[in-house]
Amino acid sequence: MNCDTPFRLELTGITKRFPGVLANDSVSFGVKPGEIHALLGENGAGKSTLVKMIYGIMQPDAGEIRWNGEPVTITNPNAARRLGIGMVFQHFSLFEALSVLENIALGIDSKVPSRELRARISAIMDEYGLTLDPNRTVETLSVGERQRIEIVRALLLEPKLLIMDEPTSVLTPQEVEQLFGVLRQLAAQGCSILYISHKLHEIQALCDTATILRAGKLVHTCDPRQETSRSMAEKMIGAGLRDLTRSRDRALGEPRLVVSKLSTVQADHFDVPVRHVSFAVRAGEIFGIAGVAGNGQNALLEALSGETPASEAGAVAVDGKPMGTADVSARRSKGLSAVPEERNGHAAVGDFTLADNAVLTARDRIDMVTLGLIGRDKAEAFAGKVIETFGVKAQGPGAIAGSLSGGNLQKFVMGREILQRPSVLVVSQPTWGVDAGAAAAIHQALVDLAQAGSAIVIISQDLDELLALCDTMAVINGGRLSRAMPVAEVDVEEVGLLMGGIHGETEASDAVPA
């Protein structure tokens, strides 16, 4: 690419401040026509804030945005779209109850007759090899299909710059390849792409340039193909990476958690129930469950934690004792602990202090209750111990949970469960949205707990995390669990197919009528 090509988008000294946080500190870089430009950084590095300013959702406190060399003020998303800037959001900006067509119509600024809109949509889908039924309601679509709506919506405007915010976090490896094909085709036609991610191998596979942000500051601009994953990761995180310390070939003990033919009923419209799920986790074993979001992970976690008890007592057994019909408290007292994906509002109460949040799950095992009254001293002492042991950055047991950063709250929640010495710990998305330092600490704590003899289940969408931590893993798709595979023998291609719903030979034996 010619170095003299003028920038299509150029940022100079962009600064954005939030209460107590400098989200962007004088960030400057440029994107050329046809370039796929990565914006790389950890959670909280300021990537999303930066693109929200480019797309007009927020205004910078200082700095200048130039578009084709001209200084511009992008007051709102409509103005961005008029310039030719399109965006695909990480958390899709879709309307569940409306049809695909209505969703697309909402994303374009002028009123287009629906017949004409349909024709234009099908032309775009043909061109890029995308398939979508315009009459379907969004709530019936898979995550990959939903992303396609966003992409079609953006492409209808014939953008000159397309912003993709963490587009692959919810896709199967095969869907990722398909998306990359579309993006390369767009770039070849001259569209610039600003690609936000923290996944290094993707950026190396796709991008021409990478701009790395750390704590709101631009730390480096490089050609990702000239770098190693490790060198980029170190720039992104700032310090040398710490490796997990664990003994790989330790002996696993007796099964502590045995799940057999566990099924749930659909709780509501949006729930994906699990069907005939069976697996066993031994003492000292970390068992990973991979899968794309919305394939029954929530139902599985709640069925294991006891929030939705099963109808058969034998469906879940802990240390040989059937617990399938037991409620949350009974399971916890027998040592089965769980940490759901959503920290604020499910694993913890945002408006409560950390001490009060300790009472949430630890009140019985830590003996905080006498005669129906809560011992505040005991709750505070336990919360203090969690804060200290797990290095939670908080003012103390009296700090309000909602005021903690995501990583710190997650450390507190994990610490609260781990310090209760559970025999079995089930966690969902343990490091989702958590900064690298906290993620490393959480991973280490899980490994240590396993080494102390607990059985651990990790439900995660992050395949890299599972491959690094687990001894055994399986894939969940459409509420069904694949066979368990030792991680040492896992073939990523096969896992990708399983995540996409291609079950192979295990399907037949699994499909016993209820």
Partner: protein, 367 residues
């Protein structure tokens, strides 16, 4: 705009308890202005409604008697609203509590015995609970909105009062008036201090507030109510059943409203009359909010609202201010209180001011 709202990292406890006072002050100021504008002596009206009732010991009795049902109902509503259960039908539960108490009083008419009053109290609480059980059942079984059911039941309960005083319970010696006979001595709530109108409902109300405060702040029961209200999913995760909590919240608030009802009918009324529904159940909603759902705060909030009742009556006779005026003051109080809520979660900043020196580029980008 020279000012900007900035989200606080955690809700401000200072503002949480300061805003009710601010709302009260603003209500007086705005009230004086509004009533001056529509042709009354606004300052005098505010003085009559908010100040005069506090200035004589005789009126203190009146305040205590009017505040006690507000305290009892308000404490129950504070519990329900903490659990995010919107019982709007406390008036209906109060009425039914009064009616079931009346039933015991009429059934034991002419009898003596110290067991009669306790029996009435139990019947009143049971009546209020039973009436609150209807929205609880529909809510937990069929997910029917409790606001609408509890409110509709209130309208129905008023008709029930009309029916019994005109029909089956009508006083045969009442010269055709639609009311029951006066209760026997044993079914009347005695005065606590001779020569005053202060009855035993007043200490009962204070006791209720203290007990509920202790339970809410110290016990697993109170904790459970607060978790269900603040984060229902976290409550399930903690092992607290949402449905059981909805039942508890409605039974507690309904039972207390019923208690208030039976104390009113056995105390000030001493018989059931068509005018028994006096909107205590609705006013107690304002009381609960003004108290920030804190049982001890309810005592003070109830006194404030009782002051506006007594003051409203005074203003009617002295400055000719219509009785509806106190309703306007109550609504304004609630409006200002709700408007002030934003100060609990946000702070007002001058836009021009420079951010404090120690701003760190924290790892958490505040979205």
């Amino acid at each position: 705009m020279p000012f900007r709202l900035e989200k606080r990292p955690a809700p401000s406890r200072l503002m949480l308890y300061a805003t009710p006072f601010g709302a009260l002050a603003l209500t007086m100021i705005a009230g004086a202005l509004v009533f001056s504008l529509i042709g009354y002596d606004g300052l005098a009206a505010v003085q009559q409604i908010f100040i005069t009732p506090l200035t004589s010991t005789f009126r203190w009795q009146d305040l205590a008697v009017k505040a006690s049902p507000l305290i009892i109902i308000g404490v129950g509503l504070a519990v329900a609203y903490r659990a995010n259960v919107w019982n709007i039908g406390a008036e209906g539960q109060y009425i039914v509590g009064g009616l079931t108490g009346t039933w015991v009083a009429l059934a034991t008419h002419g009898m003596t015995g110290i067991w009669i009053l306790p029996a009435m109290v139990l019947a009143g609480m049971a009546g209020g609970m039973a009436y609150a059980a209807i929205p609880a059942f529909f809510k937990t079984r069929f997910n029917v909105n409790e606001i609408l059911t509890s409110l509709m039941l209130t309208y129905a309960s008023v008709q029930l009062v009309y029916y019994v005083v005109r029909g089956p319970w009508k006083d045969p010696m009442g010269m055709g008036f639609p009311q029951t006979r006066v209760f026997s001595e044993a079914a009347r709530l005695p005065n606590m201090i001779p020569g005053t109108i202060v009855h035993w409902g007043v200490p009962v109300a204070l006791l209720v507030a203290l007990v509920v405060w202790f339970v809410m702040s110290r016990s697993v029961f109170g904790y459970r109510i607060k978790v269900v209200g603040a984060a229902p999913k976290a409550a399930r995760y903690a092992g607290f059943s949402t449905n059981a909590t909805i039942w508890l919240a409605l039974l507690v608030s309904g039972g207390l409203a019923g208690l208030a009802g039976v104390l009113e009918v056995a105390g000030p009324f001493q018989r059931m009359v068509p005018g028994f529904p006096t909107n205590y159940g609705f006013t107690a909603i304002i009381v609960a909010f003004l108290a920030r759902l804190h049982p001890i705060g309810v005592i003070f909030a109830a006194i404030v609202l009782a002051v506006t009742f007594v003051g409203g009556d005074l203003a009617q006779t002295t400055t000719g201010l219509p009785s509806a005026a106190s309703g306007i003051f109550q609504a304004m109080l609630l409006f200002f209180l709700l408007a002030g809520d934003i100060l609990v979660r946000y702070r007002v900043r001058r836009v021009s001011s420079q951010p404090a020196a120690g701003v760190r580029a924290a790892a958490e980008a505040q979205p």
